[in-house]
């Protein structure tokens, strides 16, 4: 066996590929589902918190800042384990899917809130004054004047953060969520071969390269109209 053959046999074994591709595809589907749910709910929650924070109520802002700092400081895996293995002792049984979705949503929301908040702060005071002087209310000013400008500035950091956190769907593996990596490692131990891991790698690329690309496109589309 040449080195090349051994390499192919380890990572790209055709029989293993043939046998396990349905598992990999079903894992990809689950990962995709969680990823989309996390992106939508995490970014919406983050934006909602940033808007709430911009009202400047101390009683509300303190909990928001604490929430955001805690979730940014903790490794998501810790939260996943606490919710999945700790809560049942209190009689609360959440499925692995639900725990994974909740934790990643909260973590993405925490980062997104900070990013949106920085975006809101970066919109010049004059924009607020101009809008308010025409009789627009605070919320209207946020929605029509400030947020659209803030969002343009947040596209790049938000895309990066979204990708980083969505990749954490792989943590579902430790609590039995049948996502991509879980399917791949299961297949790997049954087949005693690393090919399923390589298949998962390729599947991750198929899933995330378009997201990275979409982020780039968004960044360009949201740049100021020039000339």
């Amino acid at each position: 066996m040449t080195r090349f053959d051994r390499f192919i046999d380890t990572f790209f074994k055709p029989e293993v590929m043939q046998q396990y591709w349905p598992d990999i595809v079903s894992g990809l589907f689950v990962t995709c589902q969680i990823a989309i749910l996390v992106i939508v709910s995490g970014i919406s929650l983050g934006l909602a918190l940033a808007i709430l924070r911009s009202y400047g109520f101390k009683v509300i802002n303190l909990p928001i800042v604490i929430f955001v700092d805690l979730l940014r400081a903790l490794p998501p895996l810790v939260l996943i384990l606490i919710l999945y293995f700790g809560l049942p002792n209190l009689g609360i049984n959440l499925s692995g899917f639900l725990v994974l979705w909740m934790v990643l949503t909260l973590v993405l929301a925490a980062f997104a809130e900070e990013i949106f908040w920085a975006g809101i702060l970066s919109v010049p005071e004059g924009q607020w004054q101009a809008a308010r002087s025409t009789g627009l209310g605070r919320f209207q000013t946020l929605i029509y004047v400030v947020i659209p400008q803030a969002v343009r500035m947040t596209v790049a950091p938000l895309t990066n953060r979204t990708i980083a956190i969505t990749k954490n769907t792989a943590l579902g593996m430790v609590i039995g969520v049948p996502e991509l990596l879980n399917q791949a490692t299961t297949a790997q131990s049954f087949a005693a071969n690393a090919t399923p891991l390589m298949m998962a790698t390729i599947a991750y690329l198929i899933l995330f390269i378009p997201v990275v690309y979409a982020g780039r496109r968004l960044e360009k589309a949201y740049a100021w109209r020039r000339h």
Binding site: Q127, Q129, A131, S133, T134, G135, V145, W224, R225
Partner: protein, 247 residues
């Protein structure tokens, strides 16, 4: 010429930020259709006074009546009050993500609740009034400073305010662009708009205003018709200021 019905009355207005007394007892009246010019050294409180007039600042004490209504009341619908008082800023503050037309339309749609078609018709009419009908679809960064400021004026005018406040409207402009903005202001005056202007355009003040107010350190030092203030100032401070301003 202008009727002296006061549409704006400021009564013993005080404004304090922390330890700083920005305004120390300002009393002032502006009649319908009059142009009142506020002049004075920087830090004299002119802009603060203007900003109190549409409650971008809340005065510490004193009253401001606009068309008979006390707008310093604690529980007052500020959005309704501000609708009736246009404000033009030194830095234009156009919304960069909207076209000139979009800038004018926003408050028409969201504050006055007009339909898109109606708002668009009004926006085009107001842009024409400031000489920019051919720039309706342009974005702020495609317009010169003078054009941007005229769009900002159209944006305020569209709400048919009773008073227009101008906060150094030409200070951020290149000298060759100042004229086009002053021309629009002159034309507004001829249309009977009541205006309160903070500006360093002394020649324009002399030519177009009805009333000049010289302020220093949060107080009115001297007020009167432009001929009096510019040609025969009584107070020493006014004289010194004007000498410096013309140099």
């Amino acid at each position: 010429m202008s009727q002296r019905l006061p549409i704006l009355t400021i009564d013993n207005l005080h404004l304090r930020y922390g330890d700083v007394d920005a305004l120390r007892g300002i009393t002032l009246e502006a009649g319908t259709g009059e142009m009142t010019f506020l002049i004075g050294p920087s830090g004299s409180g002119k802009s603060s006074l203007l900003r109190c007039c549409n409650r971008l600042e809340t005065p510490t004490s004193g009253k401001i009546y606009v068309d008979g209504e006390d707008i310093t009341q604690r529980y007052i619908n500020l959005n309704r009050v501000r609708r009736g008082i246009g404000m033009v800023f030194q830095s234009f503050n156009l919304y960069p993500h909207m076209s000139a037309k979009g800038n004018v339309m926003l408050a028409l749609r969201k504050v006055l609740g007009k339909s898109r078609a109606e708002a668009e018709a009004i926006a085009l009419k107001q842009l024409e009034r400031v000489g920019l009908s051919d720039r309706a679809g342009h974005y702020p960064n495609q317009l010169s400073g003078g054009q941007q400021q005229r769009v900002a004026i159209a944006r305020s005018l569209a709400l048919e305010p009773k008073i227009m406040l101008f906060d150094e409207p030409t200070s951020a402009l290149d000298p060759e662009l100042v004229g086009e903005v002053l021309k629009v202001m002159r034309q507004l005056k001829d249309d009977g708009m009541t205006m309160v202007v903070v500006s360093h355009e002394m020649r324009f003040a002399k030519a177009a205003s009805d009333h000049v107010v010289f302020m220093a350190e949060g107080q009115i030092v001297e007020a009167g018709p432009p001929a009096q203030i510019f040609d025969e100032p009584v107070a020493e401070r006014t004289r010194t200021f004007l000498q410096e301003a013309y140099h």
